[in-house]
Every structure is written in C-alpha cells, then in structure tokens.
Amino acid sequence: MSAGSGRADGDASRERVLGRIRRALADVPRYERPRDHPVVRDYLRTHAERTPAESVALLAENLADYRAVVHRTDPAGLPPLLGRLLASRGARRVVVPAGLPRGWLAGARVDLVPDAAALTPRELDSADSVVTGCALAIAETGTVVLDSGPDQGRRRISLVPDHHLCVVRIADQVVDSVPQALERLAPERPLTWISGPSATSDIELDRVEGVHGPRTLEVILVDGDPRSL
C-alpha cells in the first residue's frame, strides 16, 4: 500500500492510525466481516405514490418554496422564453456550456461566452447569466443536480454568474426522491446539487438569498424533448 504521501513519516502515521483502530476494536470478533453487521434499510424509496404529473407539480412547488423561479413550457416555447427571461434582466453576456443545443438561445439578443478551460474566474464574474441543462431533478426536495455533462459544463459556470437558468426535461429527468437520484448518478463525475439560490441564515437566522452563488435561480420545466433544437 504505497498510497500515502510518499514520505517515510507519512507511512509511519498510516500504520500508527490503522494499528490504533485495530487495537481499539478488540471487542469486534476477528471473524466478523463488515457485511455481518446488519443495516436494515426499511425506510421508504419514495414518500408517496405519484403520477408523473404529480411529481412535476411537487418539484415546481418545492423549488418555488426555496425561492427558485419556476417556468413551464414546451420545446417550441423554450427559445422565446429564454430570450424573454434574459432580456428582462438586461443580460448581455451569457455563459453557455459547449454541448447546449444551439437552438435554445437562437432568439436571444446576447453575446454568448462559451465555457472553456481557459475561461478565468474573472471573465466568468463579468458574465450576466448562465444557461445549463441538468442531470436530473428531485421532486421531494426541490433539487436540480448537475453532473458536468456536455449541456452543463464545468462546475464553476453555474456558480460565478449571478443568474442561473436551468432547463429540466420533464419526460426523463424528474425523479421523486433522494434514493432514486443517487441510483441514477455516477459518483466518478463531479456533482453539484442545487436547491434554490445561494442563501445564508447566519445573521439572526434570517434567510438572505445570494451570498456567493447566483442570487437568482430560474428553473424551466420543459414538456417534450428540446434536445434537437
């Protein structure tokens, strides 16, 4: 096992800590394997039986409860809606992931800033908005999850601009619960779970939106498949 820091004293500490653990666990039978110690998983996979329509309604309700702005549209309505939402904020520079369908912003009169490794944090800071897709959304908690897929880009782009527009496909991206979400996510990808805009309750437990992340999160729920746009 040479995974330590590579320094001799580092390896010594590794052995010291592991040795202490083994001595501390003298009461655990030597023949016991981790799986012999049971974990009963009789908790619920979801907290209610819902039709797809009910799941989407719950997602919208919970997103709004944590002050995300929720919109619903169909594929044809997506480009004009995005154009309107960006125009209403006066957004000029908009960051877009490399794999975002080009048609989504066809109707928007904005300068597109493509996500690229060379894009510095300062350049991102000068952008007004970012538009992304997502990996999935969780109805029971009001969460969208990004996994750095082609239509989502690097983690930083949904963080530094002050306005985040996130598109969710109703047909195949909405799950009910946290257990269902984890089942579908790949741990080797960097994951960002977003539930409403950035917020703090550190001052007398008064909730304030927008400390370091985007102050405004708008989630657009799309009926149908907008990928071919």
């Binding site: 653990i21 001595r23 009963v40 908790y43 619920l44 944590y66 944090p121 969780i138 741990p187 960097p190």
Partner: protein, 491 residues
Amino acid sequence: MPAFPRAAAVSTRDGGLRANLRHATHTIRAKRAAAVAELDDWERLRAAGAAIKDRTLRHLDHYLVRLEENVTRAGGTVHWAADAAEANRIVTDLVRATGEREVVKVKSMVTQEIGLNAALAEAGIRAYETDLAELIVQLGDDLPSHILVPAIHRNRGEIRDIFRDRMAQWGRPAPEGLTDRPADLAEAARLHLREKFLRSKVAISGANFMVAETGTLVVVESEGNGRMCLTLPETLISVVGIEKTVPTWQDLEVFLQLLPRSSTAERMNPYTSMWTGTTAEDGPRAFHLVLLDNGRTDTLADRVGRQALRCIRCSACLNVCPVYERAGGHAYGSPYPGPIGAILTPQLRGLISPLEESLPYASSLCGACYDACPVAIDIPEVLVHLRERVVEGGEVTVRGTRTVIKPARKHAAERALMRTAGWVLDHPAALRHGQRLAARTRRFHPRRLPGPGRTWTDSRELPEMPAESFRDWWARTRGGPTATRPREQAS
C-alpha cells in the same frame, strides 16, 4: 480554559447573549420539527443512519484502506495524521509547496479543532474564512459558538460594527454607510470575499462524508462559498476526521435525508458538492486528503463512548438543549459545544484538565439531545459513563495506549460521601437516627454547604428539611400502639 461551571456562570449573566441564543435556538427548533414531520419514515432513516455508522466504526480500518485506494485511483493523494500537530505540518508543507501565501477556507469544524489557522499564520500563510458566520467570527477575533451557525451569539448590530471596523484590515473594506439589514450585511460579505475567491490558488476544506467504495467526498453548504473553494483554486486540501467515512454510495441516500432536515430544517440545503479525486479541466488540478485521528481512535476504544463518532455535526442537539441555550457555546471550551461537545471533547482530548472533567456534568440529563439526534447517539448514556470515569477513574486509551486514570481530585469528597451514604442506607437504625437528628436541628442548617459541598450549593438551593421525619410522623399518627392499622380498618 476555565471549567464549564465558571465559564457558564459568566455567560448566563449576559442578558443579550441569552436573548440571541434563545431566539435562534427556538426558531430553528420549531422549523426542524416541521421538516422532520414531513418524512413518515424518519425513525427508520435514523435507525439506518446509526447502523451504517456502527458498521463503519466496527470495520473502520477496512473502510479507510478502501477509501485511500479509491481516492488515489481517482487522482488524489492521501495523507495520514495521527494528531493535530502532524495534520498542521502536512497542510503547511502542502501550501508552501504551491508557493502561495494565502488560502481560502470552507467552514470546517476539524480545522478549528486542530488550530490550523494559527499554525498557518505562524508559517506566514494567511487563511481566509469564507463562510459568512466564520467570517464574522474571524473578523471579530472571536471563537465559534455553534456548530452550524458559529456566530449565533452575535446580533445584526454587532455584526455591522465588526464589518465596519475590521473588514479593511483583511481586504476590501465594508461599503460606506453599511446598515444592519441582513441583506446588506450579506452583500458586504459577498463583495469582500469575491475578490479572494477569484484570485486564490489554494483552498482548504473539511468534508461531511467520504465514500469508501468510490473515493467520493461530499460537502454540504448553503452559501456557495464552499463551491467557490472546491472548484476555483488549483489546489484543494481537505482535512477530514477518519469517522466521516461511510461504506457505500448508496449510504448517502440516508445521510442526505437526515442531515439537512436536522441541521438547517430544510428539505435539502442549497448546495451539495461531490467530487472524486480530480477531473480534467474541471476544478482543482491537485487534490490532497488528510485523514485525521487526533483522539478519534481513543474514542473508538471506549465501547460506550464510541457512539459519539457517529455524529454528523448537524447541531440538532445544541438547539434543543436547555443548558446550551443558557450557557452558550463558548462555555464548552471547544469547537464542539452543546451536548455532543460534552461527550466528544473529553473523549478526543482525554480527561486532561478541569475543563474536560467538568464537561460530562454540563447537562441536566433531560434526554432531549438523544431524541433529536438523527443518528441516535445516546448522549445521556455517554455522559453518565464519562461521569463515572471522572469520579472513579479506570481504564482509558490515550494516544493509542491503554492506561488507567485516577479519579479526578475534586471528586474525592463526593466518593467519600457516596460510600457513607451506601453504608447508612444498608443500616436502617443509623438512617433512622440520622433523619431524626437532621429534623431536630433544622434551625441550625446553613443555606449553603461548607467545604467540598459548596460547589454543589453554588448552583442549587439546599432542600428544605421538614419539622419531623416521615418515620416520626408515621409513628405519631398511624403506627403507634393505639392507632388503628389501615389494613385492619378496611377488613
């Protein structure tokens, strides 16, 4: 640090502090109850959370080795630190190797525990706290007083003053004419910190969970400062206690339901970041994980006390604790205040001074903390167990070595008293005479006990002694030769 009773005696007299604390803990207590009530399988989730943590602890060596393999495979580097000094040295060396003189930090209990900021300062490296509450604490040259809301003891006026007076010394000054509106204060923090986020090359974090099976680390937060630190810098160093390990990816489904609802009373916190090693062109190019022992294996060696290592630092126990609510976090003399601190601190550090010896007594044993704990740590059980250690001494593990500690000195009188009480209760005649004597001398009893008993009456009234003992009363009214026995009367 003074022992808990002395520190608490000061804080309980601070009316402002008590008002801030009462407001905050009661607000979050009510919200949390509502968030928990939404899940009708809460008790089953709680049992699963406890069972997962217990399984992990019983095979911690196995899971840590797997974690190390998987973090390394994903491009991270794993370091092991037996104690605080070693962890600080590893982190300092790693920062030095980057050539940087400043770092941004995600809120992390464990770096408070090891005193990392001071160690970095000694090496000429400035560490900036980026969580709003930690920023308030750092600028105010203060200590955190709550696990979740470290500046819970400060109200908006105090925070405004701290920002106005101190921000300029740490970077961008507070805006002119800063008001005490929470939104304005948050905006001032945003502007102050954004400069640091955008230029920082090195970040330091803790983690809420580490998944052995995949090598994934998880940070749960609200503000986005965590995401800033975890994704913008080139080097990320995470210092994490070995007990934060969970075996499998699936286990997160339990803790990501238990933690947000228990801590901030939300269905889900605004941001959760998960990363596995490094990812090409997304996030830090170098990732170092420092696995910290610092008393955790000593805690593991105590079969009753080891359950404290299940703790996921949600702070639900603080918000329901009548003692915490009145004494405040600073009285506990550790980054871990409240009921969990009362069992964690003496175990991590050992019963090494009057502070640690006093902490198991910083409780009324009302049990509210046990009811609130999302991983079902029986805090009262551990408190009583540790009290026994303090009074009786006994076998403990200190830095990995079994040793026998002596009873704490000030408890000699208590032990003598208990031995006497045991003898008296075994000898009814002596008890009878004693009670009779006590009753007849009641006019001469002091209101406060002298000698070693004084500490007891410092915070309590002596019980009122009745004019005659129960035995005397019984003998006089029913038990005498002329009185009718109740049983005979009934027949």
